[in-house]
């Protein structure tokens, strides 16, 4: 998708550090103005590398990166005008918070009064107005993080990069900061490229998520699509919980296919990422899409299940059962009063629709 509004564009970008392995393999990515795009992926998948190429600290081995319509491969970092929040914040320890914020304005040779007002505005934005005279070491982790965000925004960049900015914070603070960053993004309208390997963070914050693995974008989609409609086994596995059943494709009929899984049963599934009859496939099924003892005829897929284990989790009951020869089949049963209560050892029926069961490739699974 290359529209008028494309602001950042990776075109066939490749990166190798040692000349032997490609850390980023043929990356094509268009980011729109004002968008919040998250790069999500396991450790070592090349997210930071992409960010560093965008910021100008690592040259792309091949391909071109555009900012606006300008190719920026030859532009040095200090001329790119991109704000960045580093993973360890990189606040200058020998300067106060105010001096840290003033630094990008001073190098741009703004007037003293202008610097003062902008610094103050940025600090107020992150609710740290009273902390201007402190050194970074005198701030808590969360406060340092806010200062880092303020510093990346104080010179009004059009693009802000954040490399796991919340990695060092505890869960509660992280959630609060996610909300604040999101809020700032919405009110300022800057474009944000965000890196994380925390999927819930990615899901709550982003307009679109690029799932990385092994130097390749596996899927680029809005959060709901990513969860509901994963395009390959890696994404299905990486985002949220999912039941995996392996088998081979028996027949294909339009958008539907029949997969014979390894114990002989045949499941009807949505054809997403399988090539043809006879191919191996992974079936992916979200635990909350399975119904216990469904009305007969409601689902095309109904199978016997033996309840192995029940874990009470308050709002739902997590149930492990053996289904179709898999004894790690997970089902989330909402804790509603009218619902059938199960006991360990019971034999029941599990059913699910064709659309919820996605037939995917087998390759991306490690």
């Amino acid at each position: 998708m290359s529209t008028e509004d494309t602001f950042v564009r990776f075109k066939e970008v490749q990166k190798s550090y040692d000349g032997e392995t490609l850390v980023v393999k043929n990356l094509n990515l268009d980011i729109e103005r004002g968008e919040f795009v998250t790069m999500l992926g396991p450790s070592g998948s090349g997210k930071t590398t992409c960010l560093m190429m965008l910021a100008g600290f690592e040259p792309a081995t091949h391909g071109e990166i555009y900012l606006g319509d300008r190719p920026i491969n030859a532009v040095p970092p200090h001329k790119r005008g991109i704000g960045m929040v580093f993973q360890n914040y990189a606040l200058f320890p020998h300067m106060t918070v105010n001096e840290n914020l003033a630094f990008p304005l001073e190098v741009r040779k703004l007037s003293k009064s202008e610097i003062a007002t902008r610094t103050k505005r940025a600090l107020d934005m992150v609710q740290l107005g009273a902390f201007g005279d402190r050194r970074p070491a005198q701030l808590s982790g969360g406060q340092q993080q806010r200062v880092a965000v303020a510093r990346a925004l104080v010179f009004d960049p059009d693009l802000v990069l954040m490399d796991e900015p919340l990695g060092a914070l505890d869960k509660q603070l992280r959630e609060q900061m996610q909300y604040e960053i999101k809020h700032i993004h919405e009110s300022l309208g800057v474009t944000v490229v965000y890196v994380t390997h925390d999927q819930s963070e990615a899901l709550t914050m982003s307009n679109r998520i690029a799932v990385f693995d092994d130097g390749v974008i596996q899927q680029l989609a809005p959060p709901s699509d990513l969860y509901e409609r994963p395009e390959n086994a890696f994404v299905a596995q990486f985002i949220g919980e999912n039941n995996r059943l392996m088998g081979s494709v028996e027949a294909i009929d339009g958008k539907e296919c029949q997969v014979k899984i390894d114990n002989g049963e045949v499941i009807r599934a949505l054809k997403v990422n399988v090539d043809g009859v006879g191919q191996r496939a992974t079936l992916s099924l979200r635990p909350e899409r399975v119904e216990v003892n469904p009305e007969p005829g409601k689902f095309p897929n109904v199978f016997d299940a033996k309840v192995e284990e029940l874990i009470y989790l308050g709002d739902h009951i997590r149930t492990r059962a053996s289904v179709c020869g898999h004894d790690d089949f997970i089902v989330k049963i909402p804790n509603a009063s009218h619902h059938a209560s199960l006991n360990e050892g019971d034999t029941v029926k599990f059913g699910w629709s064709m659309e919820d069961c996605r037939a995917l490739d087998v390759s991306g699974i490690h």
Binding site: G56, P76, H78, G81, A90, F103, V107
Partner: protein
């Protein structure tokens, strides 16, 4: 509830009823004792090898007690002298008695202001060939009493009863002889062997007889000779020629028996008629002297007790202090300029190369100082590698650069030797600065040079400070290198300290110079603390 209230008023008790405080202290005592036991050895080591020697150095630099023991009567009378003309007979008599008689060791109040010049005992002559007893008792009646002798008697017989190997016994006896002498005189290294011998034959009760007095006289006489040598050396520091004056006139003065002494002394050596020697005595009058410190900065007391410059031909030290300061400054700046890029390389190169570079940096630590200096000699001398290369490149043969045995040589070699002291602290600080700071600075819009100046360099200041202080302090006291490669105009104050320690044996002056160096370093340290803050210093 009621029980709770009660405990809040009364002291808290533990389960068995002892107050909480007591049992807490008891439980902590053990660990405190252990901690003390662990700290004690290094503490003792520090005191023994650091605090005590420095304390000794400081006292030595002002100590003038020896000469006060030598000339008690003279100094007691010196105050009455008008300092304008040659002293009169009374002062000549006083110095004559101080130099030739042993009375000062016998009279009790014989030191500094305690001296009573009117005591007739000063003028009683002990016959040189004896008998000694009567004259000595007349001078100091307490010597008649056996009790006076008991103190040294104890020392003698305790040593005589010593057991052990033959060597140990000999050692004990020798120590006893030193000890007796140090009881009677201010000298710690004169031996009173005769006294030791006769004291052991004495019973400790009967009235002291002639034999004891004869031994006392003879031992004191030889101690006096020794003291005279030492104190004339001291006098020589104040006025060159004093030592030879004492030595030359000494023999002749022995033959003089009666007044007038003034005439006799001037006749023995006409320098006694030179008022300058008498003025020199004024500077030594007090048991504490600032003379060594004045001398260390080319100054001295004049006859009006005012500080004046030394005569032109004796002025050396001020120039040396300045040169030392200058050399240290140049060496420090030179080291800093060379060390900074090297340290940066060390901190940023991949491990494979930085290890190799580190070995190169540390190499000077692993080779002997002398070997390194000789290597530099080969490089820098007139016929050396550097000059040969220059000549080969077209430098006229007669214009070979003098780079050795002068100021330049000292600087080049000192920079090389002290470089690691600058590199290591800077390196250790740079190592802790993550590269993300430079990236952040550039990302915020600063070109690399500005990012370096505003963000990187300020963070290395603690290392720079530590390196600068370290190099400067070491450089300021350096002496081996300047000694070997400095030639005449590359010598530093450290060489003078070494010279006075080893050659001229003027330890007072050496100590004074050492103390000035120490004070200078402390002042530098203080300034550094004011400007940068000592807690900002990182030594590695």
């Amino acid at each position: 509830m009621a029980a709770n209230n009660a405990t809040s008023v009364e002291p808290l008790l533990t389960a068995d009823g002892t107050p909480l405080k007591t049992s807490l202290q008891r439980s902590l005592r053990r660990s405190k004792l252990r901690a003390t036991a662990l700290v004690l050895p290094p503490l003792l080591f520090l005191i023994g090898l650091f605090v005590l020697p420095i304390g000794n150095l400081l006292t030595r630099s002002t100590d003038d007690t020896l000469i006060n023991h030598q000339l008690p009567l003279t100094f007691a009378m010196l105050g009455q002298w008008d300092r304008q003309e040659l002293p009169d007979e009374s002062l000549f008599e006083a110095i004559f008695l101080d130099l030739t008689s042993l009375n000062k060791y016998l009279i009790k109040d014989n030191f500094a202001t305690a001296v009573d010049p009117d005591d007739p005992a000063w003028k009683i002559q002990i016959p040189k060939k004896g008998p000694y007893r009567d004259a000595m008792i007349e001078i100091a009646p307490h010597w008649k009493d056996a009790k006076t002798w008991l103190l040294i008697y104890e020392i003698a017989i305790t040593a005589a009863e010593a057991t052990g190997t033959e060597r140990e016994i000999k050692h004990q006896q020798k120590r006893a002889q030193f000890k007796i002498c140090s009881m009677l005189t201010p000298l710690t290294n004169a031996t009173c062997s005769k006294l030791y011998k006769v004291l052991n034959e004495w019973d400790g009760v009967s009235e002291p007889d002639e034999a004891l007095f004869e031994a006392l006289y003879k031992d004191l006489a030889s101690a006096n000779k020794y003291l005279l040598g030492k104190s004339s050396t001291r006098m020589n520091y104040e006025k060159p020629g004093f030592k030879s004056l004492i030595k030359k006139s000494g023999r002749k003065l022995k033959k003089v028996n009666e007044p007038p002494y003034k005439e006799a002394m001037i006749k023995a050596d006409k320098r006694w008629g030179d008022i300058g020697f008498w003025h020199a005595l004024l500077a030594m009058q007090k048991p504490q002297t600032s003379g060594y410190y004045l001398n260390a900065v080319d100054r001295k007391w004049d006859e009006n007790r005012e500080v004046v410059m030394q005569p032109e031909e004796r002025q050396v030290y001020v120039m040396l202090w300045w040169r030392t300061f200058l050399v240290s400054l140049i060496v420090t700046v030179g080291c800093l300029l060379l060390a900074y890029p090297v340290a940066h390389l060390l901190a940023t190169l991949p491990l494979k190369y930085s290890n190799l570079l580190m070995i190169c940096v540390l190499m000077p630590f692993w080779t002997s100082l002398l070997v390194r200096i000789v290597a530099w000699m080969i490089m820098l001398q007139q016929e050396g590698v550097v000059n040969d290369t220059l000549v080969m490149l077209g430098l006229p043969d007669e214009h070979r650069l003098p780079m050795m045995y002068n100021f330049t040589g000292t600087i080049i070699v000192m920079i090389q030797i002290l470089l690691p002291f600058m590199i290591l602290p800077i390196y250790s600080v740079m190592k802790t600065i993550p590269p993300s700071y430079m990236k952040a600075a550039q990302n915020l819009g600063a070109p690399p040079s500005l990012a370096f100046l505003r963000v990187y360099m300020p963070q290395t200041l603690p290392g720079i400070g530590a390196g600068v202080i370290l190099v400067f302090i070491v450089a300021i006291g350096y002496y081996i290198t300047p000694e070997l490669v400095g030639g005449k105009d590359g010598r530093l104050i450290g060489n003078m300290v070494a010279y006075h320690m080893q050659k001229s044996l003027n330890w007072g002056l050496a100590a004074a110079m050492g103390s000035i160096l120490l004070a200078g370093i402390l002042i530098l340290y203080w300034i550094y603390d004011k400007i940068v803050g000592i807690d900002n210093m990182k030594l590695g």
